[in-house]
């Protein structure tokens, strides 16, 4: 039943998202010119249609999930592993934000090495030596490829500059 109940909440979430788009995001986010001669040409026309479509489709999903009573093949995961997994995801999310904020200050190469180690620490590995080697060599190789072969300037950061 978990999956079906899940579908019900998914559908409801989509309905809410659609309503949010219709009543908040589109009026706030779409600037329409003073006069639009042909109504279907308004910049808000398509976004509105799509937002309403989401409302309707989400509604259909929720109603069908609520009415169907089929056995559910998916069983819920063990809750202890789940909590640890969610914790890891939270750490990962924080890491992602840090990467986006500091990659240009620290230098993309060093950030990538740290991020690699971070992920390995988070998940654990049975191949630690290989992981360390790849963590160091891969960003360097990519840097040399992009900077010197492809002519794409990779952010170098404030502290250590590579040739």
């Amino acid at each position: 039943m978990a999956r079906l109940r899940g579908d019900f909440w998914t559908g409801l979430g989509v309905v809410l998202l659609g309503l949010l788009l219709v009543f908040v995001a589109v009026p706030e986010g779409v600037v329409s010119p003073r006069s639009v001669r042909i109504a279907v040409l308004s910049p808000a026309f398509w976004p509105n249609i799509l937002a309403w479509l989401l409302v309707v489709l989400g509604g259909v999903l929720a109603i069908r999930a609520a009415r169907t009573e089929a056995p559910d093949p998916v069983t819920a995961q063990a809750s202890s592993g789940r909590a640890a997994g969610l914790a890891r995801l939270a750490v990962f999310a924080v890491g992602v934000v840090l990467v986006c904020l500091f990659a240009t200050t620290l230098g993309l190469v060093w950030t990538a090495m740290l991020a690699f180690f971070g992920v390995v620490l988070l998940t654990g590995t049975r191949h630690l030596l290989a992981a360390i080697a790849v963590a160091v060599l891969l960003p360097l190789a990519l840097y040399f490829f992009f900077n010197h072969v492809a002519g794409v300037p990779i952010p170098q950061g404030v502290w250590v500059r590579l040739p």
Binding site: R37, A39, L41, L61, A84, P153
Partner: protein, 502 residues
């Protein structure tokens, strides 16, 4: 100069060891670059362009074409091995390619992808050589209303790639369509969801969305599970090679995919990704192995790869016969023509016929090179499937960050990629398929722009959408596809009904 003289002159242009060398070099560069996630075929061609300035025109153009073809095939390598389409056109390849790799049949999937690519490429090149003039006039009769009808028809693909829940597929597609509305409005130039941010004004970068949606959820799922894959001996082998039987089984889908690619490639502005998806969904609709699609069916890989490589030669049809770029890549190639003082268009066949025929020979040759270089590349790259997941996942993450950054030299794109990764993971958990979302995102701008351009042309009168036989054709095809979808839905409901009764 007679035709025979032209052919001789063309042959003497191609038959230099330099032409062969540059073509081979181009294909190699393309395959390798395409295999790096984030470095799409477009980017590989753009990066190669400056190197051609100093070369003879024919060498420069052969080099670029080699990169183009190699890049489109190369994109399928990471699509199969790490579920990261190396180039947008290979997103459809992940649908069946990755499940095959998971089952330890990466070698087989890659082999089928290569054969499909080469055969479709050949079909495409032959169509270019034989039917360029005819297909070009067909392409020119595609105004905005015809285009709109074609895109509406293409949206019926969604049913084929939705997995078990059509309604969830539709939700995903609507989400993708909505996301594509971010950016400056086409007709009025006003802000839509960009809130004055210059990064958002151009809309979300396609490749950043693609990588985020396909590659990142796998990595996030790995972080969640944190389990080293139990070393599966089958997977470790990277698995076997495509057999002749595989090829025979897929041949029909490959030829059909190639032809779909040719038709869509000849129309300026469609590109490889819709062709691959359309070819995939057609194969799925007609295949005897229908039920296996999406779970690791070689025919699915073959159809997708045939669709995107079928586009390669055909995009040169509008380029050579009209001087019009069919997609971003051919726009760059036109730049290369111009820089060498060649003006693509009908007169090119008169003024520089030797170059045109030399190009044709080079193209045919490139299909053969692709087969050779591709099979070497596969043998090397499939070792990737032996890398343990705990090392592979962070490595893919680093590749994605570098590749996404390099598209526009922008950390904003990297942030978009991560955000889409979060969304993609959420969708994975909720069982909402990602492929329809991507199709919506690709086709969304075309659908809206062509609709609005048509409305501008007609002053708001809807009759314009049925103005020509081409529009009628696509509306009829749309109706047929819808009827088919409804029929198969009813069948599956009835099947579900009897199953629950027993």
């Amino acid at each position: 100069m007679s035709f025979a003289d032209t052919l001789v002159a063309a042959f003497s242009l191609v038959a230099h060891w330099e032409s062969i060398l540059y073509l081979a070099l181009g294909v190699t560069v393309g395959v390798v670059a395409g295999a790096i996630p984030g470095v799409s075929a477009t980017m590989a061609v753009a990066l190669t362009l400056p190197f051609t300035f100093a070369l003879e025109p024919i060498y420069g153009i052969l080099l670029l074409l080699g990169v183009y073809k190699g890049g489109i095939f190369g994109g399928s390598i990471p699509a199969i091995l790490i579920k990261t389409p190396g180039t947008p056109a290979s997103s459809a390849t992940t649908l069946d390619g990755y499940p095959l790799a998971e089952r330890g049949e990466a070698g087989r999937a890659l082999g089928v992808a290569l054969y499909a690519s080469c055969i479709a490429d050949l079909i495409s090149n032959l169509s270019l050589i034989l039917f360029a003039g005819w297909l070009a006039s067909f392409a020119l009769s595609f105004g905005p209303p015809e285009f709109f009808a074609l895109i509406v028809f293409s949206l019926t693909i969604i049913a084929g790639v939705s997995g078990d829940s059509l309604i969830k597929g539709l939700i995903a597609a609507a989400g993708g369509l909505f996301l594509a509305t971010i950016g400056l409005d086409l007709v009025y130039g006003t802000d839509r969801f960009s809130f004055g941010d210059p990064n958002l004004m151009g809309g979300l970068n396609f490749i950043a969305v693609l990588i985020g949606l396909f590659a990142l959820p796998e990595i996030i799922a790995h972080v969640f599970r944190a389990k080293e894959d139990v070393h599966d001996p089958a997977r470790a082998l990277g698995g076997g090679w495509a057999t002749l039987g595989d090829l025979r089984r897929c041949l029909k889908s490959i030829v059909r995919g190639g032809l779909i690619g040719v038709v869509l490639g000849a129309i300026p502005g469609v590109g490889g990704a819709p062709a691959a998806f359309l070819s995939y969904s057609e194969a799925q609709r007609t295949s005897p192995n229908r039920a296996n699609f999406g779970k690791g069916e070689v025919e699915g890989v073959a159809a997708a790869e045939a669709g995107n490589n079928g586009v390669c030669g055909a995009t040169l049809i509008p380029l050579l016969s009209l001087g019009v770029p069919g997609d971003v890549i051919t726009a760059i190639i036109i730049g290369a023509f111009m820089i060498h003082g060649l003006q693509p268009g009908p007169m090119l066949f008169v003024t520089n016929a030797d170059i045109v025929y030399a190009l044709f020979m080079g193209l045919i040759l490139s299909s053969i090179f692709l087969l050779g270089i591709g099979s070497v590349a596969i043998r090397i790259f499939r070792l990737v499937s032996d890398i343990p997941k705990s090392v592979l996942a962070p490595a893919v993450l680093v590749l994605c960050v570098f590749g996404t950054f390099a598209i526009n030299n922008s950390m904003f794109d990297v942030a978009v990629m991560f955000a889409m990764g979060g969304l993609g993971y959420l969708m994975l958990v909720l069982g909402v398929p990602a492929a329809p979302f991507l199709i919506g995102f690709i086709l969304g701008p075309l659908l809206e722009d062509k609709f609005r351009q048509s409305m501008l042309m007609s002053g708001g009168a809807p009759e314009i959408f049925v103005r020509s036989p081409i529009t009628w054709l696509f509306w009829a095809l749309t109706a047929l596809a819808l009827a088919f979808i409804i029929a198969s839905l009813r069948k599956s409901w009835r099947a579900a009904g009897t199953a629950s009764e027993t």
